[in-house]
C-alpha cells in the first residue's frame, strides 16, 4: 500500500498548514470587568490553565455573535486556557480520582463537590483572589454541600423536569409516571448517569432522592430496569439533537437546557412533575494539587464578572446566582418561568446530599448492572 504511505505524508503536511491558517484572530472583543482587579499579573508567566467543564456549558462564540469567554479571558490575562468537557459528574470524578488527569478549574454539581471535599480532592479557595464572590446571591452561599463555603463559587443553578414534544404527547405531563408509560415505548430518552436516573425513580416512588438504605436503591433499580422497555436511548447532551429533531417524545433534563431546546423547536415544552424534583447548584472549584491555584481563582473571578455571567446565561439557558447578572438579563429571559420559576415549584424540590461511600458504590454498581442486564 504505497499509496497510503505517500498519502499520509502529504496529509500530514496539509494538516500542518491548517492550524497556521486558522490562527488569524481569536475573536476577543474586550469585556467590561469590575475595576480594581489586576487581571494582568500573570501575563508573562506562560501559564496554561486546564479547565474541565460540562459540555455545552459556556458561551464559546461558535455562533459568531456571542462572546467566546475563554478567548476573552486569554486576551485579558495572557493566560492560556486548555478547555475540555465532561458528560457526567461521575465521569469527571473518575478522571480526577484516579489521577488520570490534572485540572485547575472544575465545575461539578453540589453533591459531587461535597463528596470531593470530603475526600480532600478540592483546594480551599483564597477568596481574596475572588472579590466577585460578593456578587453571588446570599441564598446560594454556605449550602449543605459546602457549609462554610471554603471550596466553591456557584456558577449556575437549576432543576430537573420533563421536556416533551407537544405534537407527540397528548397527555398532561405532570408526573414522572409518564416516563414509564408503555404508550410512549421507544419515545422516551433517559439520563445516562446514575444519580439523576435514581433520583427520578426514587421520587416517583414517593421517596427521598437521597437513599439511606440499600433496599431503597434495589427498589429503584427494579423500577429503572422496568423502564428500559420504553427507553429509546440513554443520553446526556445528545438530547439536544434528539429532542430538537423530533427523534423522541419525552425526556427528563435540566431546565436551562430545556430553554435552549425550546428556542430551537417551539413544539417542545417543559413540565415539573408533581412528585417533586431535584434542585441543583453547579459551582466552580479548584482541585487539590492544582499547580496554578491563583490563576485558577482569577478564572473563577472572571466567570463571575457581570458581563461574562450574562453572556454565559444567554448561551446556555441556565439560571445565574450572580445578582447583577440576573438584573442585567433581557426581560424575556428574566421573566421566563422555566429559568426563574415561581416559589411553589422551588419549594417542591430536594437537593442531592453526599451519599456514604458504601451507598454510592452500591448505586453505581446497581446502575451498571441494570444497564448491562439483558433487555
Amino acid at each position: 500500500m504505497k499509496v497510503r504511505k505517500l498519502a499520509a505524508a502529504l496529509l500530514a503536511l496539509a494538516i500542518c498548514a491548517l492550524p497556521l491558517a486558522g490562527c488569524g484572530g481569536t475573536g476577543a472583543q474586550g469585556v467590561e470587568v469590575e475595576p480594581g482587579y489586576d487581571y494582568e499579573r500573570f501575563a508573562d508567566a506562560g501559564i496554561t490553565l486546564n479547565v474541565y467543564n460540562w459540555g455545552e456549558y459556556i458561551s464559546d462564540g461558535t455562533d459568531g455573535e456571542s462572546m467566546d469567554v475563554n478567548a476573552e479571558f486569554e486576551a485579558l490575562t495572557g493566560i492560556k486556557v486548555n478547555y475540555t468537557t465532561f458528560d457526567t459528574n461521575e465521569a469527571m470524578y473518575a478522571k480526577l480520582k484516579s489521577g488520570g488527569a490534572s485540572y485547575d478549574v472544575i465545575i461539578p454539581s453540589d453533591y459531587m463537590i461535597g463528596k470531593m471535599a470530603s475526600e480532600d480532592m478540592l483546594a480551599p479557595l483564597d477568596f481574596a483572589n475572588i472579590p466577585n464572590f460578593e456578587l453571588i446571591g446570599e441564598e446560594y452561599k454556605n449550602q449543605a454541600y459546602d457549609p462554610d463555603n471554603l471550596y466553591s463559587v456557584p456558577y449556575t443553578w437549576g432543576y430537573v423536569g420533563i421536556i416533551y414534544n407537544t405534537t407527540m404527547v397528548d397527555d398532561v405531563v405532570d408526573s414522572w409516571d409518564i416516563l414509564w408509560d408503555e404508550k410512549y415505548a421507544g419515545d422516551v430518552l433517559m439520563f445516562d448517569n446514575s444519580r439523576d436516573a435514581f433520583a427520578i425513580a426514587l421520587k416517583r416512588m414517593g421517596e427521598s432522592m437521597n437513599p439511606t438504605t440499600t433496599s431503597q436503591i434495589d427498589h429503584a433499580a427494579v423500577e429503572l430496569s422496568a423502564q428500559r422497555r420504553v427507553v429509546q436511548a440513554y443520553v446526556m447532551d445528545q438530547i439536544f439533537d434528539k429532542m430538537e429533531g423530533g427523534e423522541a417524545a419525552l425526556a427528563p433534563y435540566y431546565a436551562g437546557d430545556a430553554i435552549t431546546m425550546i428556542e430551537e423547536n417551539p413544539d417542545l415544552a417543559f413540565a415539573v412533575p408533581k412528585e417533586g424534583t431535584n434542585y441543583f447548584v453547579d459551582a466552580m472549584c479548584v482541585p487539590a494539587g492544582s499547580a496554578n491555584k491563583e490563576a485558577a481563582e482569577m478564572y473563577i473571578n472572571f466567570m463571575c464578572e457581570t458581563a461574562v455571567a450574562v453572556e454565559n446565561c444567554l448561551a446556555i439557558g441556565y439560571s445565574t446566582p450572580q445578582v447583577r447578572a440576573e438584573v442585567a438579563l433581557p426581560d424575556d429571559v428574566k421573566n421566563n418561568p422555566i429559568a426563574y420559576p415561581p416559589v411553589e415549584v422551588l419549594d417542591n424540590t430536594e437537593t442531592f446530599t453526599v451519599l456514604s461511600d458504601e451507598l454510592n458504590a452500591y448505586m453505581d454498581k446497581a446502575w451498571s448492572d441494570m444497564r448491562a442486564a439483558p433487555q
Binding site: A8, L10, L11, A12, N70, A71, T85, Q238, F240, G289
Partner: protein, 276 residues
C-alpha cells in the same frame, strides 16, 4: 444474468461505502442546522470551523504528536530491526512475539493497560516526592509514550523484511574495504533500507493522527483531534463536523490521486527504461 447480478452487487457495495460520506459532505453546505432538510447553500460552517479554537488546538496537538511520535518510533524501531536481524533464532522469536502484543491486542486493552501504568507511576512518583513530575505525566507525555508504543511494532515489521532481503555481503565488503561499523551502517545499510524506513515513518503518522481509543484512555487533560471529534458528536451537533469531514476527505482524495499519478508515472518510466 450473472453479469447483471454482479453489477447490482458492485453498485450496492459502493453506495454502501460512499453514500454516508456523500451525505455528510453535502450537508456541510446546508444553510440550516438540520442534518436531513436542505435549506440552501452556505459556507458558514467552514468559517465557523476555522474559528473553533477547540478543534484547531486539537488539530495542532494531533499533528505535533504524530510527527514526534513517528520520528521516535521510526528511529527506535529501525535500530531494533537492525539489532534483531543479528540475533539468534530463539531470541528473535521472543522479541517478535512481544512485538505482536500491541498489534493483536484490542485497542481498548492497550489503552486501559497504559492508563493503569501511568496512574500507578504517577502515584509512585508523588509518594517519592516527584510531585511536579507526576502532575504533568498524564497529558502530552503519556500520549507521546502511548503513540510511540503502538507505532513501534509497525516499524519493526516494515523494516525487518527489507533488512533480511539485503545482501549481508555488502556490509562485510564495506568492513573489508576499511569502513568502521558505524560508517558501514550509514553508508551501506541505511541507504538500502531507507525506503522502508521512510514508509514506516509515514505509516506511524497516519496511525497516530487517526488513533482514538488508545488516546482516549491516556490523554489526561489533553484533547487530540479524534477526541475533540468525539466530544463534538456527544454534544449538540453542529454542521461544523460535516465541514471537518469534507475537508479531511478532500485532502485525502487529492493526496491519493497525486500519489497514484506519481506512482503510475514512475511505473511507466521504469518500463521504458527496461525496454531500452
Amino acid at each position: 444474468m450473472a453479469k447483471a447480478l454482479k453489477r447490482v452487487y458492485v453498485v450496492l457495495l459502493f453506495s454502501f461505502l460512499y453514500v454516508p460520506i456523500a451525505v455528510m459532505i453535502a450537508f456541510s453546505f446546508n444553510q440550516s442546522k438540520s442534518r436531513t432538510v436542505w435549506a440552501g447553500f452556505t459556507l458558514d460552517w467552514y468559517k465557523q470551523l476555522f474559528r473553533n479554537s477547540a478543534v484547531l488546538q486539537a488539530l495542532a496537538l494531533s499533528v505535533v504528536l504524530a510527527l514526534v511520535s513517528a520520528l521516535i518510533a521510526t528511529v527506535l524501531g529501525t535500530m531494533a530491526a537492525v539489532g534483531i536481524n543479528r540475533m539468534r533464532r530463539r531470541a528473535r522469536s521472543v522479541v517478535m512475539n512481544i512485538s505482536y502484543i500491541p498489534i493483536v491486542n484490542p485497542e481498548i486493552i492497550t489503552g486501559v493497560s497504559l492508563m493503569l501504568l501511568f496512574v500507578v507511576a504517577k502515584t509512585a512518583l508523588s509518594s517519592i516526592g516527584g510531585g511536579w513530575l507526576a502532575a504533568g505525566l498524564l497529558g502530552i507525555p503519556s500520549l507521546l509514550v502511548a503513540h510511540i508504543t503502538f507505532n513501534l511494532p509497525y516499524v519493526l515489521f516494515n523494516v525487518g523484511p527489507k533488512l533480511r532481503q539485503m545482501d549481508t555481503n555488502l556490509y562485510d565488503a564495506a568492513l573489508d574495504l576499511g569502513c568502521n561499523q558505524r560508517q558501514a551502517f550509514f553508508k551501506v545499510v541505511l541507504p538500502e533500507i531507507m525506503p522502508a524506513v521512510f514508509s514506516s515513518f509515514l505509516i506511524c503518522l497516519t496511525y497516530s493522527i487517526d488513533d482514538f481509543t488508545i488516546s482516549y484512555f491516556t490523554a489526561g487533560n489533553q484533547q487530540t483531534l479524534p477526541i475533540a471529534i468525539f466530544a463534538m458528536t456527544r454534544r449538540r451537533v453542529s454542521p461544523e463536523i460535516n465541514a471537518l469531514s469534507a475537508i479531511i476527505f478532500m485532502v485525502i482524495l487529492c493526496i491519493i490521486l497525486v500519489a497514484n499519478y506519481r506512482e503510475d508515472a514512475g511505473e511507466r518510466k521504469r518500463r521504458r527504461n527496461k525496454r531500452r
